[in-house]
């Protein structure tokens, strides 16, 4: 007989996520992923100036801040045939690269590490041994026995105070915590260092975009004008600042994040066989080096892998109405006119909220009916996993040397076979490995930008079509990118200078969605099956796999509600909505 366990709230993520899992004989046999919060941003941007939309949709997420802004300006530029200057493309790439460094490091230490690292256990460590290990795996300078001893003393006083704050009720002493005390101490020290480091790398956004979180973007380019002879724009000081931040960021990635990742992964090799997905992976591709309209110039290639077959990369077409579709069969929205099980391409997307779940307070969702605010996207009817693992696999399978190098390095270091990548461990490792690659590229982008400026190219925005009077009466566009959490795209329809329709299909929509009419599970639900659970009162194993995706749930949920305030009266009849 199986038992239903509920984990809600899932913490150390963005947004509100609930997992209900069936556990039988200590193993998960089925799982349901649900998001329980909605805001309605797509409805809100309808009728607005398309040039403003980036700011609205940027507020979809403040963790992966920038990604929705960038995707939105790309969608509008695509619709209006605006080509941005090379410097603007470089600045956008640099900002995105800085985001990757920030986001992946913060995910590893602050959102994911506490699933693997026992904070309290670090008190038992010998700081001299931690120092020896640290110096054997990295040349990072903060590695003396005294340094680790100070960290340990600090944690001891913190624990002795009885106020554990964010560490209260953590899974300390859980049988699945496998790290030696010395590695725990190393990780805790770097948890604190990373917390301080993360506020530095984002200054790249502040210089180009004025602030972080939520830096400013601009349809047509970027707003940060270049003027090397004035304090009115980007000059030698501002640019040198960016260059230094990027190099410091790359050092932290290479000397702290990656050595720690590999050291910790070495104690959890068994997780290379847990959290396997259904084997379909998708990327859209990103980091253009010759414009958004030339996908062959993208540093990260786009494509699809089906059934773990790395020998065949299938292209994706965002514009084809037969490829990417969203379904609402298990989501709290009105069904489409075509019926409950029909899907729609996002340009024709429609999403009328209709909550039909249990009335709060409740203990369980009714998973036989609709059970999430997340819609279910499919590519030609198939579920897709998106994210760092998809990027690394497609980069590897496409023969991109940078990806091949880091993957081969990590597999050799961990002494695991290539199929260990299709797992919870693989997902977490892939996130680190791509950060190595992207940090290098980001420094390259910066060098190219400097070279352009040196050669006298100061252009940062193309404002030829900034004035809405220059636009066609009707236009459609798609903006896509590889956000840190995976393939992200926005579809826009512009009519008479206004936003007529806007749909976002985001990485966590792909991964966290409820099942489709064929009963096919999306990635979260699918990867949890088969996961052992040592203690059903403590959901450690569940959050390990869920965190390996780096959930971003506010991103995943997006709806509009035509009925506005009257929706509560509709709710009473929602059971009849089939």
């Amino acid at each position: 007989m199986s038992e239903r366990i509920v984990v809600d709230p899932i913490t150390r993520i963005e947004g509100h996520l609930r997992i209900e899992a069936e556990v039988k004989d200590g193993v998960i046999v089925d799982a349901y992923s649900s998001s329980t919060m909605v805001r309605g941003i797509e409805e809100i941007v309808k009728g607005r100036d398309p040039r403003d939309v980036w700011a609205f949709v940027q507020r979809t997420c403040g963790v992966c801040t920038t990604v929705h802004a960038l995707t939105s300006v790309r969608a509008v530029e695509d619709a209006l045939d605006i080509v941005i200057p090379p410097n603007a493309e470089l600045v956008r790439n640099i900002m995105e690269g800085a985001l990757y460094m920030h986001d992946h490091v913060v995910h590893f230490y602050h959102l994911h590490a506490l699933d693997w690292v026992d904070v309290v256990n670090c008190l038992k460590a010998d700081p001299a041994e931690t120092s020896r290990v640290a110096q054997s795996i990295s040349k990072w300078p903060k590695s003396s026995p005294g340094y680790f001893s100070d960290v340990q003393k600090r944690i001891k006083k913190f624990v002795d105070s009885g106020q554990l704050g964010i560490f209260a009720n953590g899974y300390w002493g859980h049988p699945q915590m496998k790290l030696p005390a010395e590695i725990n101490l190393l990780a805790v020290a770097h948890y604190l260092e990373a917390l301080e480091w993360q506020k530095e790398i984002v200054k790249v956004h502040t210089i180009f975009g004025g602030k972080n979180p939520h830096p400013n973007y601009l349809v047509g380019g970027m707003a940060c004008a270049i003027n090397i002879e004035s304090q009115g724009g980007l000059n030698a000081e501002r640019l040198a600042y960016v260059g230094q931040l990027l190099k410091q960021g790359r050092d932290f990635v290479n000397q702290v994040y990656i050595p720690d990742l590999l050291a910790i992964a070495g104690f959890y090799r068994d997780w290379g066989a847990i959290g396997k997905g259904f084997g379909n992976y998708m990327t859209y591709g990103d980091f253009p080096t010759n414009g958004y309209n030339d996908p062959s110039s993208f540093k990260i290639p786009g494509g699809i892998i089906l059934n773990n077959d790395l020998s065949n990369i299938i292209p994706v077409d965002h514009r084809s109405t037969d490829e990417i579709q969203e379904l609402v069969n298990n989501s709290w929205y009105d069904n489409y006119a075509e019926g409950k099980d029909a899907g729609r391409h996002p340009w024709d997307g429609e999403t009328n909220i209709n909550y039909s779940g249990p009335k709060p307070p409740y203990d369980h969702l009714n998973v036989d009916e609709k059970y999430s605010f997340i819609k279910t996207p499919r590519w030609k009817g198939k579920p897709m996993e998106v994210g760092p693992l998809a990027r690394v696999l497609i980069g590897y399978a496409s023969g991109i040397p940078e990806f091949k190098n880091v993957v081969d390095y990590a597999l050799a270091k961990l002494e695991v076979p290539v199929d260990a990548l299709f797992s919870t461990l693989g997902r977490t490792a892939a996130r680190g490995l791509e950060t190595i690659v992207i940090a290098d590229w980001t420094v390259e982008f910066f060098d190219t930008l400097m070279n352009n400026i040196k050669n006298g190219d100061y252009r940062m925005a193309n404002t030829e079509k900034f004035d809405p009077s220059t636009w066609p009466a009707e236009a459609k566009g798609v903006g896509y990118m590889e956000a840190p959490r995976g393939a992200l795209a926005h579809w826009i329809v512009i009519k008479d200078g206004k936003t007529a329709n806007y749909q976002q299909v985001v990485p966590s929509t792909w991964n966290a969605s409820p099942r489709d009419p064929q009963g096919q599970r999306s990635a979260y639900e699918s990867t949890l099956i088969g996961t052992p659970v040592a203690d059903i009162e403590q959901p450690l194993e569940i959050i390990r796999t869920i965190h390996s995706f780096d959930p971003c749930i506010a991103c995943a949920v997006h709806l509009y509600d035509e009925h506005g305030k009257h929706i509560s009266t509709v709710n009473n009849i929602s059971a009849c909505d089939v």
Partner: protein
Amino acid sequence: MSETKEKRQETYYESIIRQGYSRRDFMKFATFMAAYMGLETSAVGQIAKALETTPRLPVIWEHFQECTCCSESFIRSDHPIVADILLDKISLDYTLTLMAASGKQAEAAKHATIEKGGYILCVEGSVPLGDDGNYCVIAGRTSLEILKESAAGAAAIIAWGSCASNGCVQAAAPNPTQATPIHKIIKDKPIIRVPGCPPIGEVMAGVIMHYVAFGKLPELDRLGRPKAFYGKRVHDSCYRRPYYDAGLFAETFDDAHAKEGYCLYKVGCRGPMTYNSCGTIKWNNGVSYPIQSGHGCIGCSEENFWDNGPFYERLPNMTGFGIESNADDIGKIAATVVGAGIAAHAIGANIMKRKELNKRINRGIENEENIKA
């Protein structure tokens, strides 16, 4: 410090000394905080004393309809040092973003703090009232119910960011979920509103430090915002203000005037109607702020700023100036008469210099025409 050794919460001073800082460092920090809060130097001793004797403050941080940018901004705080805030300044007993525990263990940690009382409640996000609150449910309960429970025993409430303060993006028209700021729900307690999308990290830390240091809420303006951080318009502290006064404007992005760093009013800057510290404290430890990086202020700390667009059109009206009555009235009249927006600004900025007024207006109009040409 000589009294019993039984378990009590550690004071700021003790924690700072324990971390290896000197008394001198501590006083520097207190001085900084005083300056930071816009206080006289005589307040330094008071801050130092408060820090020496105040225990670590329990904090419950709720997340409702939000994007987590406020939490992200908070961890960007440079002073106090970000790791120290979490380990030594406050006891952050509940936050979905950072806490180790999930599910039942997370909720249990919160309830333990609620039972003890004496905590600060921080709220990130708005509360949807549509459909009986079903649009935001955590652990099977609506955010409305959760907010009421957490607020009941709180010593003080902080509304982080524009979501909790004003409703922010989800409350923009047509506000599909009836997203509601918390002061419209909790009416029996003072609420510190710290608007911005997000607020500046150091401002967030500063608000908490104010409470801890003085044991009372910071002085608030009529909208419930701390005067120390929201007392000035971005416009009044903007380093590009002289260009505005001189009537020198960027006409569009990346034009010759944008490259010179001229005023961004004509490309939509909301600095003239926005109260915030962006021009003084700036962002991410003083690195820059939107205007310095070439983009106009979008007014993210103002109520209804999302519906006050389009962002790239100059301010649709002069209501933002209504706060300064005399300058404003005259400005409005002049704007009508002369028909040039910048004339109003020239007057508003120079009410005391009647003599120069005409000269400035004329120069402004001339500039505007030159730019158009």
